[in-house]
Symmetry: C2
Subunit: 456 residues, 2 copies
Amino acid sequence: MAQQRRIDLVLDSVKRLLRIGATANLLNLLQKQHPADLAQIFSELPDKERDTAFSLLAERNGRLAMEAISELGPEAGAALLATRSADEIARLAQEIPSDDAAALIDYLPEELSAAVLDLMRPKESGVVENLLEYDEQTAGRIMNPHVFALNEDMTVGEAITELQTNRDVEMVFYLYVVDERRHLVGVVSLRRLLLVSPETPLKRIMTADLISARVETDQEEVARHVASYNLLAVPVVDEENKLVGVITVDDVIDVMKDEATEDIYRLAGVASDERVFASSAETFRKRLPTLAIQLLTLFAAAAVVALFEPTIGKVTALAVFMPIVVGMGATAATQTLTVMVRGLALGELTWSNARKALLKEVSIGIGNGILLGILAAIVAWLAKGDPVLGLLLGFAMILNLFVAAAAGTLVPLGLRAANVDPALASSVVVTTLTDVLGFGAFLGLATLFLRYLTTT
Amino acid sequence: MAQQRRIDLVLDSVKRLLRIGATANLLNLLQKQHPADLAQIFSELPDKERDTAFSLLAERNGRLAMEAISELGPEAGAALLATRSADEIARLAQEIPSDDAAALIDYLPEELSAAVLDLMRPKESGVVENLLEYDEQTAGRIMNPHVFALNEDMTVGEAITELQTNRDVEMVFYLYVVDERRHLVGVVSLRRLLLVSPETPLKRIMTADLISARVETDQEEVARHVASYNLLAVPVVDEENKLVGVITVDDVIDVMKDEATEDIYRLAGVASDERVFASSAETFRKRLPTLAIQLLTLFAAAAVVALFEPTIGKVTALAVFMPIVVGMGATAATQTLTVMVRGLALGELTWSNARKALLKEVSIGIGNGILLGILAAIVAWLAKGDPVLGLLLGFAMILNLFVAAAAGTLVPLGLRAANVDPALASSVVVTTLTDVLGFGAFLGLATLFLRYLTTT
């Protein structure tokens, strides 16, 4: 499994062969690679070399070249394709399953994608256009419309013959059974076919109670189903329960990876489709909004501090310790809201158990606040020789960790209820609360008890 | 797919039936549920009700009860089992595949797990003990040792007969082919068996070039392989290439979910195995270290501020704007390091392309710094009427966003090189840097240019 080392070696050879122009050897080497490995090799080559290597491979083995492009992901894949002619893209797009082709074509510049669809065989472009009509991130959009289905009146023997004549169907392990109008009525596993005699009617051995997705089902929900019921594929039906496609577990794994990345990125204020090597200009543009919003909220926090400038003028030690109050609040808030956002994503946190979660988080927040507040109070006292300053710091910390816990629990739940992705906005709302309340509590208390504090 | 609504309904019925003591009806209802749904129902029931429901089900249908427990995950599952007698656990553990049993037993209190292993049938406990000897998070630990293998000298017809007599083997779609000493020599897909005549020797139709994992391979690497090569299962071999187990795609999905959660949690300083409803005491204990370390680093930042107390005493406006410098630094750093940590996890970021990533991040950091720094400078100037204060704020922000970008890229890479999980420690190292340098730059510059600033 030392895949990375092997790929690095192949990459070095590819670069060398490109440099010396050894086209035949290069083609030979590329053709031996798995599409997933080729995708990684393409992504690590400099732009010019990548184009050359892809052109060479596309001419000789269009299918492998396009499979590698698919593995790159639709966005990066489309970017690589976008420099070619519509004619060539149309030819290449027909080499891969229509769901993969649709994903790529969707990311091409609008004019180019229209031209490509015009140039494809009408049957193929029709299938792709159908897929593109479904909303993004739905089952309809990611399903493979070439689904292998058997008529309910068939016998096991007939089903096996059918399988033998349709050798190019992708990944068959569940055989879906439909009635004469293509309504989904059951499923038979491939293995089950081997265990019964050829005369057995499919109807007798099929499972009629099966899980299916509707075309408009959210892809994340499909993924959750496959994961919890350990499925290898889910059939997709339209509003009349007619079988229109299938989503296989490998598609689900891609969805899960994308959704996990999306959650991680959104918590950090990064666009969900950002990648390490997206273009700088685009990344700059995508990160700016988060930073700008953060700047705005920090001005709000600064405005709170400004209210207490006269107090700080008298006790400059307050400026020394105020970052501790808000820093601890932010850290504790991040812990709580991360667990809540992930719990919502995994379906573990719901409205019915929210109260339990809130009580738990608040008790932990207060507990940590007391423990660390006392510690901070002692350090501040020792550092500045002022026990009242220590007391104020400790008390502000307890208060802020309580706010962090409550807001960290309630804000994600509230956003979910308001149909806003909790991963997207929780962080900025909660840290603004802990910033404003942290500064306000610490400096406000200091102002109230100013006469007990050692002034500078 | 309205699974959640259905589960909520079942949950309500379960609670009602428990309340009125309608045992027979309750058992009836529970037995109709899928293990994954039962797991969710168990997790949402209060402790006492959960115990009662589990006891009832375990007595009638031990296998279903244990499958539900397995779906809960080993930690939560073991917690539920831990209140029962070793005798009962031993009986129940034999109802599920040994890999699932091993995972549960591993999380039982030590004395109890020893007693359980003693009480299991020697053959079963031997298998479980073998699995537990492999390191955590390795292929050996998560594999299913009951792997279906065929001898290379068999024909297709013999293979089918073999399949028909071994009806209880889990999830068969790849048939692994071994030599007489059980060395892994090839693989045949179930479907391929249907497409050739029964006399065909397996050797002729098997694929000899197949991907396998070693028992000590990291589970994350196995998951990455399954995902990139679209596999349904990976055979696991020992150091002599003997077939000892199989990891199926459903196990891989669990690994991927756990690893994504781990990355998300570690970035936020939460223990990787925390769940929304872990016990408060345990959660408190697990979150404390991150908070304590954060407190320590905040004291370091506070010490930097303390160096410049006399300056703050003269220009209290500095205390108002200093949270902006460090707050922006922390936000920008989080964006960069999240993308880097995820890029490392997905295998997109490597040493060979690190320079490219660094250049990109630094240019974005400086770009954002200039744009937002100018904005902040103007606001500070307008708010306080002091252009020099604005200038210092803007300059400190540019500097800090540069530091955030550089540290956000280099720290995760450095930690990975030092074999420390970058998700675990990047955040605290990077934000400490931006805190200390942010305060230092802003207040240091202010001290240098003090005579040009409007004093309070």
